[in-house]
Amino acid sequence: MVARFGADLPVTLNAPVTAIDDTGPSVRIESAAGSISAKAVIVTVSTGVLAAETIRFTPGLPDATLGAIGNMPMGLLAKVPLLFDGYHFGLKSNEWLAYKVPEEMPAQACYFLTWPFNMDLMVGLVGGKFGWELSAAGPDAAVDFALGELRKIFGEKVDQHFIKGDFTNWAYDPLVRGSYASERPGFHGARAAMAEPLDGRVYLAGEALAGKYSVTCGGAYMSGERVAGDVMAALGAG
């Protein structure tokens, strides 16, 4: 959906940025596809990527910004799409399938979205610490767990109608490192602190800085659009 939305934009893929130098006459960006210079740069990577310091900033990011990033770790909600042969277990399209779990958290649970848009997919959802554990175990373990939870409800019919499954690797994808950022308890205001403008020509944007629309893809887009407007105004091109 995102690729199609930006289909007419000149986007260079497979070019992870390794360094951003804001000390010269222009901003210099080093990437796997080479170096470019720009009047300004908008950095939209997740707080997980920023915290991992895979991008070297020169000069370094301000202490207040680094502190805010540290107080907004990445949460994880991963998806386990399961393809079935058209048998829908008596469940309607776009409904939720949940079941009782222990009151003490974290629960080892996989809740399901049933047949989104009437496709033959049951989409399992796992999150939090258990989601990270399952991600470390790999896609086969995630699919097995999700199928096991369904077997508790529907029995052997699950295996009779199951075709194949997959698992999103957002947890350990080095370009994401999670799903979306969340303020640590006791550190409300981290989003606002991270959104404070930086000196120079480097700007931060993205999901974590989308205000009340954070944790959404739409919010990420809106944050980028707002900051792009700030850049245009700063460059006198608005």
Binding site: K100, E103, A109, L113, K129, F130, G186, H188, K212, T216
Partner: protein, 52 residues
């Protein structure tokens, strides 16, 4: 007071585990012990799109 959600959840509520699972891991990607109720509340008008 912005304390972990696990410290302010009531005990003994029927289906409490389910509501915690929806609110924490399935919504914010965080378990209740790591979830800021204030941050959650500030985002309460929007939630991740689970359909896509």
């Amino acid at each position: 007071m912005d304390v972990p959600a696990s410290e302010v959840r009531p005990n003994g509520i029927p289906w409490s585990g389910v509501s915690q699972t929806w609110t924490g891991p399935m919504s914010m990607g965080m378990d209740f012990a790591d979830l800021s109720p204030v941050d959650w509340w500030s985002l309460s008008t929007t939630k991740p799109n689970l359909e896509v």
